[in-house]
């Protein structure tokens, strides 16, 4: 079956521009996550959805970052007034479910969108 897809794969923006990054999760996956990966680093959590509800946005670095998943499937990460420090790979992951009791959280990642802000 199809995996997680992300578009665009590469995005170059001038400082101050707004960008929108799209994620198509695996069909039927309830949970969706966004991560930011700087060069040479591991991914860092940005935000998490369960269906259409944004349950955790504690990792969003500023109020310029906004994510939505209005119908509980496709998600969009929007960055307003981009800055050079926003340059990174933005990874989306989906998971069938998240259970606090089981503590089991197997996530499947998309290929990422590499954002370069000039």
């Amino acid at each position: 079956g199809a995996g997680v897809s992300q578009s665009p794969r590469y995005k170059v923006a001038k400082r101050g521009q707004d960008v929108a990054l799209r994620c198509d999760p695996i069909s039927g996956h309830v949970s969706l996550f966004w991560y930011q990966q700087a060069l040479g680093q591991g991914p860092e959590f940005l935000t998490y959805f369960q269906n259409e509800a944004q349950l955790d946005k504690s990792g969003l670095p500023s109020d310029r970052f906004f994510a939505e998943r209005p119908e509980g499937s496709v998600s969009t990460l929007k960055i307003q007034r981009t800055q050079q420090e926003d340059s990174a790979v933005y990874l989306c992951a989906s998971s069938l479910f998240v259970s606090r009791l089981a503590g089991y959280n197997e996530q499947f990642f998309g290929p990422g969108t590499r954002l370069t802000v000039l």
Binding site: F33, F45, G103, Y104, Q107
Partner: protein, 114 residues
């Protein structure tokens, strides 16, 4: 702040050698996952361990979860050039943390030379 410390950060070895990558934390995790990431791609899940002391084998890769569920190791036997990549450990369901997200280490960049 929950941190996962991975070591070593870089590893360059010859084909056929063995290696071990370590992942340590002061936090207890409900599960720990190992991923491999190649340039331009997202991380690909290798294994999930959930029980303290658990050992899982995947061909030449052996994964171990510490008894206290705070640390893990990945051992590769007879490394091959195809093993080259960034190896990431990630902890889930940590005490006091968000129930959803994974906490990632910075990764170990492995290069296996023929």
């Amino acid at each position: 702040t929950q941190l996962l410390e991975q070591s070593p950060q870089f590893l360059s070895i010859q084909e056929g050698e063995n290696l071990t990558v370590y992942c340590n934390s002061s936090s207890v995790f409900s599960s720990l996952q190992w991923y491999r990431q190649e340039p331009g791609e997202g991380p690909v899940l290798l294994v999930t361990v959930v029980t303290g002391g658990e050992v899982k084998k995947l061909k030449r890769l052996t994964f171990q979860f510490g008894d206290a569920r705070k640390d893990s190791s990945l051992h590769i036997t007879a490394a091959q050039p195809g093993d080259t990549g960034l190896y990431l450990c990630a902890g889930g369901g940590s005490d006091g943390g968000s129930q959803g997200n994974l906490i990632f280490g910075k990764g170990t960049k492995l290069s296996v030379k023929p």
